[in-house]
């Protein structure tokens, strides 16, 4: 800032000052700086302390706390309030008790108001215990003495009057008035600055936020905007020119009384999991030893015993027993209820967790880095996620609430932040751009976008990127991205408090009635080392349990995950063919093409397979080297024995996140704690710069240890490539177990498997139609929906046979009510239905249900073709109370039976699938005349052959890792074809690419290592060949 009076910012000779009234962007749409920015700037300016006082919120406090720890700046915990009568004040916590009081007071205000708001009145401020808090009155323009007198009496010796001056021309007069007021009411005056931003350059953003908050363009806001940018952290020399010295000195007296730090919240763990006579340490040891005996009835190998000892000692040192005991308790409940679960995460794959039954990954099979979750250098708790069947996770959550009480357990918050799209939309509105323009811009951002492509999108939306408005829009949007917008519930992160939760963290209302959410998210809890259990939902576990249930019926013996025979070569042979539709984690298109190249032959190959098809390894360019080494085309070499130890299991190519950290340790001399910081830097998308700090250290470390510059650069590049996408081996190891289990089911019990998948929808990558097509290709008989035989779920017919047929369930019928389906099944048990009228009467179906059944052709057994079914269903009238059977004598008119393609179209419209011929089969004669080949034909063609194929479009994708290439999968009656479409090809044929349901492609065959692609050239939409066909393509997820 070239302003004369701002010179000498960092003059340290000035007086001491602590800012006691500062808002971050966690005072949503008021504060214009991140908490970290405020803390860092306060430290830079030499402030003695900073109080973060977001309005009725502690949401940003943990972020500020972490930054304050880094900057060694004392952080004061506080909050700003406005009572219903307009009285405004700041509360500051002096100690742990005061912190609890403040948190409970915030909770009180938040719980009385709808989501995102709070409500407090004078009476509540008078009565709520706040003995360990300090209060600062924020007087209005025309303050009333009574308010000051009241506060002085309510907080005797603990209350002040804030004097806040902002160069509005009347500062002197205001100062004099407030000093007089302070004298009259007996409150000492203190200087505060109502800070809304860390530096004055943020004023523009602050004005914009005000416009968003008030929902009016900034140009119309007038005096609702601040007149100048003075509400930033001002350098101390400037403050001395604005405030009398005694007012500045007073800030120090207050700051000295506030001695509380969030670090004190640690070790507040629930106690009830440890029985009398045991300490947490001895009880965990006891449970672990029980588990050892169970897992290794003949005695555990020495290596395992040593590992267990090491882990137990570390856990005890860090006092992390409650984490393990809590998770042990939760999975114990699930086991007892027969709910399938599986732990994952680095801590979950420890030997202790294996012994406790939290996970099934045998530590002997993996070389996992236990240090990642616990290291002596940092104070962060272990990471244990537990996945449960998605349809039964609610039972687990209810158990937690029962066990600990709703006043002690709650779901963590999930912080919604501004993304490119929402930021542009809001800023554009604030700048007064027309609705049509705003919409145009926001809509285009829908498609495969990141903030980097913003400028291109702007141009496309008809805004000149060089106009001042557009430049403002761009820079403001970019500043706004990452700002918090609101809190919602996290999917499964549970926090459990030692006693009252509101004493630990404020609780507020969520959108759903009766739901509450705490003000901290998962990262906050983790940063503070608070007890948190991740209770997550996983559809595949539901499907596996259902499939195992079907096996129990057909084989007559109990089945569990453990009963699935391990390392079955038939299973791996199937996977190596890329035949993996429905298999957990390896069913995506990218995985399907990787399987035949990587050819997984054992469990550990699967672990790699899952981790390698990720943006991290792809961007780090690790895929091709790994495949080359695996196929023997490239020698496996290591730059040193130390590196060999780390990378041996992945042939010298780092694939897992853990390996990158280990490399940093063995090759560059990082400590375990530093390596973990590196991991966090990799994940911190918001501040790319942080990773660069490690660059020098890493490169220097490797040079010092004799590695070549080339190797060092390569490793650094890989680390950068990993970014946020690096996949940890610990997760991959758990996922691989489920991938194997589901592959085994698909391989040996395809009917049970597809039935279970269909009954666990929505889940996975493919729609029911594709799963059924796949099952039929694997010789599974699929029987049509039929109101005479179908249950709600899909069923196996007959269930006791080893290779049964699958009867589609009524759940697939679009528009049919669950209750209606239940009545159909119940009434059918008495006697079969005679006709539609009988059905509607006995199952008490309304017209809507009946028409839904007719549309799905589920009435064909009663009525013949679906048009007659529909006519009959439509004619059903609700039974009147007087006549139980409505009299209906009408002739059924002659209705033309639908033609085959009309039936297929109607099938897709109602159920999203058809058991009739594939739509492409209908077109085949016509296609054949044009010389268009089938998907099957392509496999017999030489590389580079020019060919034309046609198919239903199943999905369109444009991964960020693929430099603008679009991938499209089409399907004809013989199978799938994967298309690769270069950006220029796509751009020239947007319409055909984006709108076709049936696509005709001219292209060249690319076949390599069992993978076939078609490099697309000309695209044609054949949609009008089959009128009305509605196939849902899965686009751009």
């Amino acid at each position: 800032m070239a302003c004369s009076d701002d010179c000498g910012d960092l003059d340290n000779s000035g007086i001491s000052y602590a800012e006691l009234h500062a808002l971050s962007n966690y005072s949503f749409l008021r504060g214009a700086s991140h908490p970290e920015e405020l803390v860092a700037e306060a430290a830079r300016l030499g402030y003695a302390a900073l109080a973060l006082t977001d309005e009725c919120s502690l949401s940003g406090m943990v972020k500020a706390h972490q930054e304050a720890r880094k900057q060694a700046l004392p952080l004061i915990i506080g909050s700003e309030f406005r009572l219903e009568d307009g009285f405004r004040f700041v509360l500051l916590a002096t100690n742990r008790a005061g912190y609890g009081q403040l948190s409970a007071f915030i909770t009180l205000g938040r719980r009385q108001a709808p989501k995102g708001c709070y409500r407090l009145n004078r009476e509540q401020l008078a009565e709520h215990p706040l003995t360990d808090c300090l209060a600062i009155w924020l007087p209005q323009a025309a303050p009333v003495d009574a308010d000051g007198l009241w506060l002085a009496q309510r907080f005797p010796g603990r209350s002040w009057l804030a004097v806040e001056l902002f160069l509005n021309g009347g500062d002197r007069q205001r100062l004099a008035e407030l000093q007089a007021l302070a004298g009259r009411v007996g409150l000492p005056p203190v200087a505060c600055n109502d800070v809304h931003m860390h530096c004055r350059e943020r004023q523009i953003l602050q004005d914009t936020l005000t416009a968003i908050r008030l929902k009016r363009p900034v140009a119309e806001l007038g005096y609702a905007l601040f007149p100048n940018a003075e509400r930033h952290l001002r350098p101390r020399p400037r403050l001395t020119r604005i405030y009398p010295a005694e007012l500045l000195a007073e800030t120090m007296r207050i700051a000295e009384r506030c001695r509380f730090s969030l670090d004190e919240l640690r070790y507040e763990y629930p106690q009830e999991l440890v029985p009398e006579g045991h300490s947490p340490t001895s009880w965990l040891r006891h449970l672990t030893e029980d588990g050892l005996a169970l897992r290794w009835p003949d005695g555990a190998p020495g290596k395992v015993l040593k590992q267990v000892e090491h882990e137990l000692r570390l856990v005890a040192d860090m006092a992390y027993e409650p984490f393990f005991l809590t998770v042990h308790d939760v999975v114990g409940f699930a086991r007892q209820r027969g709910i399938l679960y599986q732990g994952r995460g680095s801590a979950a794959n420890s030997a202790v967790c294996y012994c406790l039954g939290i996970t099934e990954v045998d530590p002997g099979r993996l070389d996992l880095l236990f240090e990642r979750f616990i290291s002596r250098e940092r104070d962060e708790p272990p990471d244990i996620d537990v996945d449960f069947e998605h349809e039964r996770r609610e039972e687990v959550i209810q158990y937690l609430y029962r066990k600990y009480g709703r006043h002690r357990a709650a779901l963590a918050a999930s912080l919604t932040t501004y993304r490119a799209k929402s930021a542009v939309r809001d800023v554009a509105k604030a700048l007064g751009l027309g609705l049509a323009q705003v919409d145009a811009l926001a809509q285009t951002l829908d498609y495969w976008d990141s903030s980097e492509t913003l400028a291109t999108r702007l141009r496309e939306a008809g805004l000149s990127p060089d106009s001042p408005t557009t430049r403002r829009l761009l820079s403001l949007s970019q500043a706004l991205i990452g700002f918090p917008r609101h809190l919602s519930q996290h999917v499964g992160g549970f926090v459990i408090a030692a006693d009252e939760l509101s004493n630990l963290v404020p609780v507020e209302n969520a959108t759903m009635p009766e739901r509450t959410v705490i003000q901290w998210d998962k990262d906050d809890l983790e940063a503070l080392g608070l007890l948190k259990v991740d209770v997550l939902a996983l559809g595949m576990l539901t499907a596996i349990r259902k499939a195992l249930g079907y096996l129990e019926t057909s084989t007559g013996r109990p089945w569990s995950l453990a009963a699935i025979p391990p390392e079955d070569p038939a299973v791996y042979a199937m996977l190596q063919r890329g035949d993996s539709m429905g298999v957990f984690q390896v069913e995506s298109r990218a995985q399907m093409t990787m399987l035949p190249r990587l050819k997984p032959a054992n469990y550990y190959d699967l672990v790699i397979e899952i981790a390698i098809v990720r943006p991290g390894p792809i961007q780090g360019e690790m895929v091709h080297p790994y495949l080359a080494r695996r196929s023997g085309r490239e020698p496996v070499t290591y730059p040193s024995p130390a590196v060999e130890k780390v990378l041996k299991r992945t042939l010298g190519v780092p694939i897992f996140q853990e390996q990158v950290m280990q490399l940093a340790m063995v090759a560059a001399g990082f400590t375990a704690g530093e390596a973990d910081q590196l991991r966090r830097a990799m994940a911190a998308w918001r501040r790319r710069g942080e990773l660069d700090r490690f660059e020098q250290k890493l490169l220097a470390g490797m040079r010092a240890r004799g590695y070549t510059e080339q190797f060092a650069q390569q490793i650094y590049k890989q680390i950068r490539g990993f970014g946020e996408y690096g996949f940890p081996e610990s997760h991959s190891a758990s996922f691989a177990l489920l991938a194997y289990a589901s592959a085994w089911l698909k391989c040996h019990h395809p009917a049970a498997f597809v039935c279970a998948l269909l009954n666990s929808q929505p889940m996975g990558f493919y729609a029911p139609s594709q799963l059924i097509q796949d099952a039929m290709r694997h010789s599974v008989e699929i029987r049509s929906l039929d109101v005479r035989y179908s249950d709600w779920d899909c069923t196996l017919e007959p269930p006791e046979q080893l290779h049964p047929a699958v009867r589609l369930g009524l759940r697939l019928v679009k528009g049919l009510s669950w209750a209606g389906a239940g009545r159909i099944v119940a009434a059918r048990a008495a006697r079969p239905y005679a006709d539609v009228q009988d059905l509607s009467l006995r199952a008490a179906l309304d017209r809507r249900d009946l028409e839904s059944l007719a549309a799905a052709d589920a009435l064909h057994g009663l009525t013949g073709h679906r048009r007659r079914a529909f006519w009959e269903a439509a004619g059903v009238e609700a039974p009147t109370p007087l006549y139980s059977e409505p009299a209906r004598d009408e002739a059924v008119p002659l209705l033309r039976a639908p033609r085959e393609h009309e039936d297929i179209v109607a099938d897709y419209a109602s159920t999203g699938l058809s058991l009739r011929r594939h739509p492409l089969a209908l077109l085949r004669p016509r296609l054949e005349r044009l010389g268009i080949r089938t998907a099957q034909d392509l496999w017999g063609l030489r590389n580079g052959t020019a060919v034309r194929v046609a198919g239903l479009v199943l999905c369109r994708q444009r991964p960020q890792t693929a430099a603008g290439v679009t991938f499209v999968t089409i399907e004809d009656e013989t199978g799938h074809v994967n298309l690769i479409i270069w950006p220029s090809t796509a751009e020239a044929q947007r319409k055909a690419l984006l709108q076709s349901r049936i696509l005709l492609v001219a292209g060249t065959v690319q076949q390599e290592e069992g993978v076939l692609h078609l490099l697309a050239g000309k695209l044609n939409d054949l949609g009008d060949w089959l009128d009305g066909l509605e196939v849902q393509s899965r686009d751009f997820h």
Partner: protein
């Protein structure tokens, strides 16, 4: 003195019978010509003609395309497509929101054109006009000629029409909407003429339409084939109603379009004159007629036109507005006199004409016992009108009070909507139109605490200044500032009184 006064307002003929029984009795019944305007929504909006453009409409909370131009259609954009999808297909698409008001206005304009072909026109089936043309056939020499002339006339006003004529107004509309330029003479032929129209043409709600399709009932013929009671039971009476209207079995109630009344009167002077005193009484007489005309219709006027005709040269035309609807001859008389007194005439006046421009319904004004206007605001408005008439419209400007931190944008005081800061530092009453650079040395700052104003970054006139109060050598109290970026330069911005 020869006076020729013509008061026109369109008189409607008696309502045309739309009774099918009348048709069956053998006498030729009404013939309804429907002129449908497929591009109306697009044509009324300022969209480019040389680039892809579309009209959007919000349905169920999301914007959908309502109409497209030929360029957009080339990209595969069609009505009903969500805007997001449209942008994916055509990123350069220009869009505008649908404007029902403009469409209505355009349609009314077109209806006035159509009145040249038949007195009976209806706008009820918008965006289309329905004309009863049986009576006009002879005059125009048959339907074909009439239709082609009508289409030319409509095209001349900038709108493409699709025309169809049948004995049922509803059937005509269905055909025209579906792009069928058909002519059906007899009611009995309606079913076969409309049979292959898709069920969607009936414009039923989407759900009913879907249900019809599911039973395989795709066309009107399919529907006509089914038992009536079966249809009613399944799809409701509305479907049957529309089918019967389409088949000419049921009358379609239509409201007649009436052109709004207007007033035009002319007074030829017995001799040419350029003296106001001689020709103004004629104007007053016309104004009195106008006033009577307005009272009769309980209407008021916000604008009238006066034409002063000269021999051998174009007339002098005056437009006279009024702030609120007026109908008293005296009021307009006062206003016109104010202006005419200042007007220099190019030539003597030989005739005067007065016509009404914008007729509006009269809003009753309370009058007190003596017939005096009790509404002070009304008096005030009349005074303003008079001032404006005397000084010219540019002279009179409202004193705008804007809420803006920038002094040059705000005239002090408070704005209604947004609370002003309760203490604005004192501002001078007189601001310089353009701040003037002043040498700092000649000034003595008397209020050292600056007022810092940083605002207005959103337009081209953002400021970042520190304001001070100072006195010059003569003791005048000045408002001066310096830019935060250039603190060495001082500017004079205002003078305290």
């Amino acid at each position: 003195m020869l006076a020729e006064v013509a008061i026109t307002s369109l008189r409607s003929p008696d309502r045309v019978p739309d009774d099918p029984r009348g048709v069956c009795s053998g006498s030729p019944g009404p013939l309804w010509l429907c002129a449908h305007f497929p591009d109306l929504s697009r044509d009324v909006l300022p969209l480019p003609a040389d680039r892809p453009a579309a009209v959007i409409e919000t349905a169920k909370g999301r914007p959908l395309l309502q109409a497209t131009n030929i360029w957009a259609a080339g990209y595969g954009l069609a009505p009903g497509l969500p805007l997001s999808a449209a942008y994916a297909l055509c990123p350069d698409l220009v869009i505008a929101e649908r404007d029902p008001d403009r469409e209505r206005q355009a349609l009314e304009r077109l209806a006035r054109c159509a009145l040249g072909f038949t007195p009976w026109v209806s706008l009820d089936l918008a965006p289309a006009l329905l004309l009863e043309v049986r009576g006009s056939l002879k005059l125009f020499g048959g339907l074909e000629v009439l239709t082609s002339q009508l289409m030319d006339r409509l095209a001349a006003s900038g709108h493409r029409a699709v025309c169809a004529a049948t004995p049922s107004p509803y059937a005509s509309a269905l055909l025209a909407r579906w792009g069928r330029e058909a002519a059906v003479e007899h009611v009995e032929e309606l079913r076969s003429a409309l049979g292959d129209l898709p069920g969607a043409a009936l414009g039923l709600d989407e759900r009913t339409h879907e249900r019809l399709l599911k039973a395989g009932l795709a066309t009107l013929r399919d529907l006509w084939r089914l038992p009536r009671e079966g249809l009613v039971r399944r799809y409701g009476t509305e479907l049957l109603l529309r089918l019967d209207r389409a088949a000419g079995l049921l009358a379609t109630p239509l409201r007649e379009f009436r052109s709004p009344p207007c007033f035009h009167a002319r007074f030829e002077l017995s001799s040419e004159t350029d003296r106001l005193a001689y020709f103004f009484p004629a104007i007053e007489q016309l104004l009195q007629r106008l006033s009577d005309f307005l009272y009769e219709r309980d209407a008021g006027l916000t604008r009238l036109h006066l034409a002063l005709e000269h021999r051998d040269r174009p007339p002098t035309r005056l437009k006279q507005g009024s702030r609120r609807p007026e109908r008293a001859a005296a009021h307009f008389g006062r206003l016109l006199r104010e202006r005419l007194e200042r007007l220099s005439l190019p030539a003597p006046v030989c005739a005067v004409a007065v016509s009404s421009a914008a007729l509006v319904p009269w809003a009753a004004v309370a009058t007190d016992l003596f017939g005096q206007c009790a509404d002070e605001a009304a008096d005030w408005q009349q005074l303003l009108d008079q001032l404006e008439a005397r000084l010219g419209p540019q002279a009179l400007k409202p004193l705008v009070l804007r809420a803006d931190h920038r002094p040059e944008r705000a005239c002090g005081g408070t704005a209604q909507a947004l609370a002003a800061p309760s203490r604005l530092a004192p501002r001078p009453l007189w601001l310089l139109a353009r701040p003037r650079r002043v040498p700092r040395g000649e000034l003595a700052v008397i209020r050292p605490q600056p007022e810092r104003i940083e605002s207005g970054w959103w337009d081209a006139a953002g400021i970042r200044r520190d304001y001070h109060v100072a006195t010059d050598r003569r003791g005048a109290k000045l408002w001066i500032y310096r830019e935060l970026e250039r603190p060495d330069r001082w500017y004079l911005h205002g003078l305290f009184g």
